[in-house]
Symmetry: C2
Subunit: 335 residues, 2 copies
């Protein structure tokens, strides 16, 4: 069984496709909606619906702290959560390179199952395509997600106001450095695992009794710098952060120095940046620290009316510098 690999016929829409889905995917993903095997899932919902999608092409597909399946669930759950939504349902579409060991696929489905359960979401619809060897690299996954945004919630990158505080939920750069180390076969004295995690519960903890959160976003590709620049541009405000307040793990710092990378541009997959009303910042940080995924939360800066559209960092050494959006490609296929 373990020597079996994916054939082109597994993507034919015929018998082998059905068997693959029924025998290899359903045991992990089964739920009443998916079991119907109709073209669409039909769900009873009402209210403000959040809808998002992401494709995952991470290389390698297994890495310290996760794999492409965990990443695909976390990434889409987190995009929903960053809209203030409760993540509910996911779709799962896979493009597989002919020859992929079916055991790899099962390991990934197992991981999707575990992460979905932790995040409280169900996979309700999906698709499988197979392409010839050399026409894709092992496996690409696209997840789309649906969640419900509570009526009073209003989160957008365009909502930052001068005076607001900038809160970061934890250390920067873990995911990118974990992938890089695995890919390049680097061994650092302090090994780094990906921070890949579903943040729905962290977000609902923040939002539970407080409606003073203006912006939420997960700093994935492009890192913290790109996310803050997006907020500054969407809200037409300036942002000032303090280098000394940004938590970075020792292993990540060392790896970044060695590789000539700036951790503020390195991708994260289990962190969030939040912009909140200043008088609630302390309480929000305290709430975040109660969660496993927010225990290093800190206020790292504030929103200002000066230099709209720009992000400035006060460095540890004193002088300030502009933190620009990532321009080139730092680490391809990081997510």
């Amino acid at each position: 069984m373990t020597d079996e690999t994916i054939l082109l016929a597994h993507g034919s829409g015929g018998k082998l496709s059905h068997d693959l889905v029924a025998k290899r995917f359903f045991p992990f993903l089964a739920n009443p909606e998916l079991d119907k095997m109709d073209d669409s899932a039909v769900l009873e919902l009402s209210g403000r619906l959040a809808f998002t999608t992401d494709s995952y092409v991470v290389n390698p597909i297994f890495f310290p702290g996760g794999d492409i399946g965990k990443l695909a669930v976390c990434g889409t759950v987190n995009d929903l959560a960053m809209s203030g939504a409760n993540p509910l349902y996911l779709s799962l579409s896979v493009v597989i390179e002919e020859g992929l060991p079916i055991s790899d696929l099962e390991r990934i489905m197992q991981s999707i199952k575990g992460t979905s359960e932790e995040a409280g979401v169900s996979i309700v619809t999906g698709d499988t395509k197979v392409v010839n060897q050399g026409q894709a690299d092992k496996l690409f996954i696209t997840t789309s997600g649906i969640g419900i945004v509570p009526p009073e919630v209003n989160i957008s990158g365009a909502n930052a106001k001068p005076g607001d505080k900038v809160i970061l939920s934890g250390t920067m750069g873990d995911h990118g450095i974990a992938i890089m180390s695995q890919r390049e076969g680097l061994n650092f004295s302090v090994p780094v695992g990906s921070d890949c995690a579903p943040l729905g519960k962290l977000v609902s903890q923040i939002m539970q009794s407080l409606l003073n959160v203006h912006c939420l976003r997960d700093p994935t590709r492009g890192g913290l710098s790109s996310t803050l620049n997006e907020f500054a541009q969407q809200s037409n405000v300036g942002i000032v952060i303090e280098e000394g307040k940004i938590p970075i793990k020792e292993g990540v710092r060392a790896a970044c120095e060695l590789l000539g990378l700036d951790p503020l541009y390195v991708a994260n997959e289990g962190k969030l940046v939040s912009i909140v009303e200043p008088e609630y910042a302390g309480e929000i940080v305290d709430r975040m620290r109660e969660s496993d995924y927010g225990k290093d939360a800190a206020v790292i800066g504030e929103v200002v009316s000066d230099h709209p559209g720009k992000v400035i960092m006060r460095t540890k050494l004193g002088p300030s510098r502009i933190i620009d959006m990532l321009s080139g490609e730092l680490l391809p296929r990081i997510c």
Copy 2:
């Protein structure tokens, strides 16, 4: 401008990613939801929601009668329509191979725009990833879709009942043969174009005043045979069809003979199979024939209580034979 190609940095999440989306995608896709550029679109909806997803890996990406963009919109719109839903919103996620000409991408976006407009859907959220040359083949697209199912509608592959009639909306095999001809550089005396079309309006025409439609499905990969087998198995009924009643274009028939293919297994992208209460079959066929996409509609068979799970075809020459589900791979990367 036309010589520009996609770089890895276009998938970085940084400046070039933003520029690509803002300058090359938005001019075609712009709508108030997408313009917000938040991680999720937030939509006001209520009722029974249909949710579906498909990845498209068709090769070549441009073919007679369509391209991968048109196909990605039609395929997902059709999956929603086949649940009896009114298609409303799509997500669009692209995995691009480094080196793809940006002009190809713009042509595809133009096609997505035109097809979305025809189908009455908006692209409200999306994602772009870029992989190194040789790690994907030009472009893969994943679309997910959301629609609303009217309260009284109940469509499922499990709803077929003995006595029901089987209706086909038009000719079989056009899409598969169009792709095959293009890919292999075959020139048939009667050229065949893909039937790729959004069927939302055809479905709403059928359903307008009648609630006697039990099953709807578009016979894509695996063709008519696989769809009928799915119905027979999901509903635990037998299905009998008549070969002489299945419309097939002369060019498709000739190409299939030359290539040794059975048109009942060849993919369609603008056709539907419907199982309906017998007394309404005539009226439904008449309604379908009023639409451009249903002008060759015909009753091709019926549901029986004999041989549950199996599909039998009465051949033109007299004897009956079992029509099985597609087992191997007929035509890889057809959609």
